[in-house]
Point group: C2
Chain length 344, copies 2
Amino acid sequence: MSHQNRTEINKLGEFGLIDKIAEKFSKQNNSTKYAIGDDAAVIDVGDYFQLVSTDMLIEGVHFDLSYFPLHHLGFKAVAVNVSDIAAMNGIAEQITVSIALSNRFSFEAIDAFYEGVKAACDAYKVDLVGGDTTASPSGLMISVTAIGKVDKDKISYRSGAKVNDIVCVTGDLGGAYMGLQVLEREKQVYLENPDMQPQLDKYQYIVGRQLKPEARMDLVHELLDLKIVPTSMIDISDGLASELHHIAKHSDVGINVHEDKLPFATNTQETALEFKLDPNTAILNGGEDYELLFTISQEEFEKVKNHPDIHFIGYINEKSSGLNLVTTKGNPIPLKAQGWDHFS
Amino acid sequence: MSHQNRTEINKLGEFGLIDKIAEKFSKQNNSTKYAIGDDAAVIDVGDYFQLVSTDMLIEGVHFDLSYFPLHHLGFKAVAVNVSDIAAMNGIAEQITVSIALSNRFSFEAIDAFYEGVKAACDAYKVDLVGGDTTASPSGLMISVTAIGKVDKDKISYRSGAKVNDIVCVTGDLGGAYMGLQVLEREKQVYLENPDMQPQLDKYQYIVGRQLKPEARMDLVHELLDLKIVPTSMIDISDGLASELHHIAKHSDVGINVHEDKLPFATNTQETALEFKLDPNTAILNGGEDYELLFTISQEEFEKVKNHPDIHFIGYINEKSSGLNLVTTKGNPIPLKAQGWDHFS
């Protein structure tokens, strides 16, 4: 470690840092099918592929306990990792949950957290198989690893999208981000006047999207039943635009998505307008919805065209055409990824 | 979360907390062979068992960067998890490494950390397959998950020790603990007088035991070659006495270990005496040596009796006889586990 040269992490950004780290390492074991660069690592265990994904949640960076109940946090910590396994078209079966906590936390607080973990384990049929519990100098840190499985002929990478494939997205977007804005505002109001009670009734849907996101395992099971293997897939943790960039980069393609096809809830739109925000900002760049973004070949369209919760937002093009948002007026404008980068 | 009842975590201790958490959860998937309670979780992937272990390392709790070089820390973070896989008689093949770091850390510092991770990956033939990189409000937190494999007929649990089995330990004990005492003392000297340079030459062996522990994969491979499957095994992370308690509890047996058989390095003994500590305190209760403690049936003894690095320290007895240290004078005294508990 040389103190003569100092490169700030935020100059590289999270993805730049990951690239720098990844280029150091090479594969040594045949069982390692795919390492860094997708939603989960892929291990060949013989009969099938095993998927491994891991995420850290840090107090003061990823969550604020002044409005995030611990049992919701436990649920979310599991759900976001199950979502990464879903993004490979896989089914999570095991998780490990590690926590580091300061003496500010009582056993009852930790118990509430694990009640949430258990609710998610039950909801997604996942077994808690291990973890580490330790002290921290301050705050709460959570690290979850999810392990899942997928048949070798059913795995979806980010890299498989082909020209003319249809771009699909589940659910609605931007809600978790707007929910966070509401929670942050109510926190400020409360700090300025502790007699004020938070006014959240009107924002129930979007606050729920932030505090209790669901992994879309239901869609993974439905696609299995319909015998559809997405040509590419990713979950929307950092925002639609950022995830589209990942698909375009890994699949070496261009993508056009249509503004008028982007799904959002009325509650999201109304709240964005109340906050004097363009709803598209929340829809394209708001993170943490944990919906699935995937591509299917044209032949599969008939099977899902009437699905109430799958939205067809665009097409895969040649790489040269780039990544564009086609506005309601029909103009393609280049789409920038303004995903969440905790280092910037 | 009720604030009426508040139970402090340190009243439960780490193992008490883990027990309370574990009793909440039950198994839902057939692939989950063994969950919480051993060095690693066990997943049945068909042809073999897969092992999963995870550990968190928190700045200010597990390491002090004022004397712990980042590349050593990267090596150690991997080694301690590979050691958990070794403790199940398995071979680690993949790891994930997650880090949360404050803006105090430059890219060059993180690069040094990952150089250490890479050195360990090369040493243990393990592939880095994923991880998470994120910001932290202060300090460095590391979470590593190791994934390994073991043939179904070769796995060693904590629970398999049988009466008359021989208790074995590799390497020497207490060194990492005494190395830590030296490093902490030199830090104090430096803080009081920054012109003083640390005097570490005399303590090179024990300081190395603290800063660069090795997972005993060499022993796992040797036992495989000798066709010996330990009847029980655990790695020594919390101290010999604590690990013996785990074996006794899980195997439902008693254990006698003999004071005059406990292996230690001269450097450990001399430094303990210099610190006015009973060397047995370091040997029995000092953690972080990452040696292997295991039991073998009497029939296997011939195969290893001349092994230079395996020490035969005692025997498995009926449960009723308890866990005892037989002193040099031949007196059995009950052995208390004073392992490291970061909550107390």
